[in-house]
Symmetry: C2
Subunit: 251 residues, 2 copies
């Protein structure tokens, strides 16, 4: 029996209390069947990039690293804290430059300053929900899946050119249906954005974090509102869930 | 060979990289040789109380629970996030009511509102460094080890009377010598505060978290400044170190 089936079988047999969140994460990550993690080295710089899920209320005047003000209140601060504790002897530097509302082209607009100049050894990107959301609510009429894909590929080609050794971690855009931000008209188009992110991760040899699957598994433990009040922005529990998954992508 | 000696032996043999932080925590906690943890139950309310180490910049206008604004940027938010993720099906409520600068008598002044009315099932207290620090810097002339002990015992007797079933977690006051807030004249008196906290934990059947020992072990991995810039207030790594130790005190 493969790990995934074993995980599901245990889930079915054991009831809710028997499935720990680490098992949720392992089940979801293992089923990807790809390379599992990136090896950390001394003095590595890690950069989190993305939209409001990554920004999470960080103080944008604070350009320091390894600092709760600069890292915000979302998955980057929880992943950062976990990395800094677990790998204390490595002297890691953890930055967050996510900005609320960003779509891929807006990352590109600020990429020199907010990525290339920081020279990350590991670059983590989670982007895509606004590329569809803002189109659907009428604030981004030029938004299409083709533009998302094309802009994302161009951004990563530019990144690889400037930083040939950078290791990439790409997060799957996710949403929890039935919660207030997530409208029926997002589907099935949103699946195309998720598929594109996965294909782009593949194309660039990136670690792919299947956040949608991780949230879907977490829903077996607690309702959607527990993990993200509006279906997109994580609660404290949701931020930690994502951070734990992220931390499993490095070693 | 007992766990503690095994831990030390491994530390000596393995060099820095071989000792993971979980081992640091286990080594420090196991050596206490007391009951190891508190069993969580559904709908438990957990309250963090203390001084600036606990406060950690929380928004004091925000009286909600399970919320990063209300929990601050210190060990309570990292412990809270870990608990909410790990025990998602338990529907826990996590509050932080630490206030910067507090000494034991100042906890007592606000105890009805900031503890008893919240009716915690688990009450975590970390208090004591200001009881000595503020005395030493001339802002708290009435501060003595006898007053600390007497005030702390009175606070816990009052708590147990109002909440007979509350489970207690008491943190050891800690400081890292040689960093800017920690003056030579704190010693040996500071050891008396640490001893008193441990004895009070014993007297009330509380879980005792040996933060001093935990930091001392962590210093083998990275220098003091890495864990707490001034010797008292934790960095992100220090906050996570404390949170991980705290989370090990429940199951």
């Amino acid at each position: 029996m493969n790990n995934r089936r074993s995980f599901i079988k245990k889930a079915a047999m054991g009831g809710l209390m028997a499935i720990s969140i680490p098992e949720i994460l392992s089940g979801a990550m293992v089923s990807e069947g790809k390379k599992k993690n990136i090896s950390l080295s001394k003095d590595f710089t890690i950069l989190f990039q993305g939209d409001s899920i990554t920004d999470a209320g960080r103080n944008k005047e604070d350009n320091t690293y390894n600092n709760a003000n600069a890292l915000g209140k979302g998955y980057p601060v929880f992943a950062g804290a976990a990395l800094l504790e677990k790998y204390a002897s490595l002297n890691l530097k953890v930055y967050n430059k996510g900005i609320s509302g960003n779509k891929v082209f807006q990352l590109a607009d600020r990429w020199d300053k907010d990525c290339l100049e920081i020279k990350p050894d590991i670059l983590s990107i989670l982007i895509g929900v606004n590329d569809l959301w803002h189109k659907m609510d009428g604030h981004y009429n030029e938004g299409t899946i083709e533009k998302y894909r094309k802009d994302y590929i161009a951004l990563l080609e530019r990144t690889k050119k400037a930083l040939p050794n950078v290791k990439l971690i790409i997060g799957e855009p996710y949403a929890i249906k039935g919660l207030k931000a997530v409208k029926d008209n997002w589907y099935p188009e949103f699946y195309e954005y998720q598929k594109a992110a996965r294909e782009i991760a593949d194309r660039f040899g990136a670690i792919f974090i299947p956040y949608q699957k991780i949230y879907d598994e977490a829903l077996k433990q607690a309702p959607g509102l527990y993990w993200t009040p509006d279906g997109v922005h994580p609660s404290l529990a949701g931020a930690q869930l994502m951070a734990q998954a992220w931390v499993k992508s490095v070693k």
